[in-house]
């Protein structure tokens, strides 16, 4: 059991900690709760903001009035947001496919369970080569891709929601832009 003295010392040490001190540490800690950042508007990211402006200029064309420029900016924002969501999804799939040891969480748990069972005193004798083959086997080819889709289903669903919203925003932004141009 932990002594009172030890508990007090731990609490005192914890109070003395004020979190990361270096700029690098603080920057890292600031991203602790960040998953993919897709709920943040694109304008809050300076490089993306620049891309929005560049695309908006292309869409509005030269000699556009203030209203057209604003409508073009909305289209550009939705388009860059859509690109960001699609990139996140692509990254998720790419990371899984390029990981040579990718396997389902259920399969990894099963392997640990088998290993624990084999470490018991009266465990059955299994040839080492067969055990090694079993432990190092991972899904390949289409099985691997299907496993990734299944394992990441929850995250893919969330990304799909973001994509759907971005598509809808872009559709209405384009319609508003076209409408404004139509009346010029």
């Amino acid at each position: 059991m932990t002594s009172d003295r030890k508990i007090k010392a731990n609490r005192a040490n914890a109070r003395a900690s004020i979190g990361p001190k270096t700029a690098q540490g603080r920057a890292r800690a600031a991203r602790n709760a960040l998953r993919h950042g897709l709920s943040l508007p694109v304008c809050s990211d300076p490089p993306l903001s620049e891309e929005v402006e560049a695309l908006a200029r292309e869409i509005a064309g030269t000699d556009a009035n203030a209203e057209t420029q604003e409508l073009a900016r909305r289209v550009a924002e939705a388009q860059i947001d859509l690109r960001r969501v699609r990139y996140a999804r692509h990254q998720l799939l790419s990371d899984g496919l390029s990981d040579p040891y990718y396997e389902s969480r259920a399969s990894a748990r099963e392997k640990v369970r088998v290993l624990c069972h084999l470490l018991r005193p009266n465990a059955p004798d299994i040839p080492m080569a067969a055990l090694e083959r079993y432990l190092t086997s991972t899904p390949q080819g289409p099985h691997k891709f299907a496993t990734i889709l299944s394992e990441e289903a929850k995250q893919l669903l969330a990304l799909d929601r973001y994509e759907r919203r971005a598509l809808s925003r872009r559709k209405f932004a384009i319609r508003a832009f076209d409408e404004a141009r139509h009346h010029l």
């Binding site: 869409i59 099985h143 891709f145 889709l149 559709k171 076209d178």
Partner: protein
């Protein structure tokens, strides 16, 4: 598009290169094509060229939709490919299991594999002076010669293996080889597989269906992804259509205005004198 990392410039068509260089700055604003490991960048470029040629985008917004249609169509093709290769892989795995089971009743079909597999194990485990006899001993054992059987059993017991395990391994190896030959459509293998299937009263379709029954959730997930990509692709095409209709109407109105401006309405005044008398 000019910054595409996956594309191999040598494999690109001239048409694709021309299009890429002509419109590179604008296409890069829509992002890089999202190709996964093993996907063909040249094929993606070809698809882009074909869709561009069909749609003939008139402005940057049309280009946005074209980029979308290409990307979503690519996705549709990806999911269809995945579904068919998954079905095929499960079918072949089921066939392998079936063959391994069927081979059990006919040792002659895999006796060669058994002898080779056993010889390999014996070579690794016999005393050094007897290593040369491993091949002979394995073949004698395959022919069921009692002395050889006894000797092999003794060696196997010493290394924690059993004759059943060796037979199982040989059957699995033969089944795998047979499936590979069947995929390559080698006549002997095709005939043997069909004989074994009809002998057991099952068809290849039944094997595939059985195997897929356990993996239906995978197939359903892929189907859902395909449907989503298809419906989004169709939405983009509809938007292109809608914009064309608006553009058509605007053009008709402009032409009318131009025509109206060209012609002046001449006021007709009634003629005097001729009929007055």
């Amino acid at each position: 598009m000019s910054k595409r990392v996956h594309s191999d410039p040598k494999t690109r068509s001239k048409k694709s290169k021309a299009m890429t260089s002509a419109s590179a700055p604008r296409w890069t604003l829509f992002g890089q094509p999202q190709l996964l490991e093993g996907e063909d960048a040249a094929a993606y470029d070809q698809l882009l060229v074909r869709i561009c040629a069909a749609v003939k985008p008139v402005d940057i917004i049309d280009e946005v939709f074209v980029a979308d249609v290409v990307s979503l169509e690519w996705e549709v093709l990806r999911w269809r490919r995945l579904k068919s290769s998954l079905i095929r892989a499960h079918g072949l795995e089921a066939l392998k299991g079936f063959l391994a089971e069927q081979l059990d009743s006919d040792f002659d079909l895999y006796s060669e594999h058994f002898a080779d597999y056993l010889a390999k194990i014996l070579q690794e485990n016999l005393p050094e002076e007897q290593v040369d006899s491993a091949q002979t001993l394995a073949h004698e054992c395959a022919r069921n010669e009692p002395d050889a059987d006894a000797k092999v059993n003794e060696v196997l017991a010493g290394i924690g293996l059993t004759m059943d395990g060796i037979l199982r391994g040989a059957r699995a190896h033969k089944a795998k080889e047979l499936v590979q030959e069947y995929v390559r459509r080698e006549p002997d293998a095709v005939t043997l597989v069909h004989e074994l299937l009809s002998g057991a009263g099952v068809s290849m379709d039944a094997l595939v269906a059985d195997a897929l029954a356990k993996k239906l959730d995978y197939i359903e997930r892929i189907d859902r992804l395909t449907t989503i990509a298809e419906s989004r692709r169709n939405d983009s095409l509809r938007e292109i259509d809608r914009r064309r209709a608006v553009l058509g109407e605007t053009l008709r109105r402009s032409v009318q205005e131009v025509e109206d401006g060209e012609f002046e309405v001449i006021e007709t005044t009634p003629a005097k004198g001729k009929n007055a008398a």
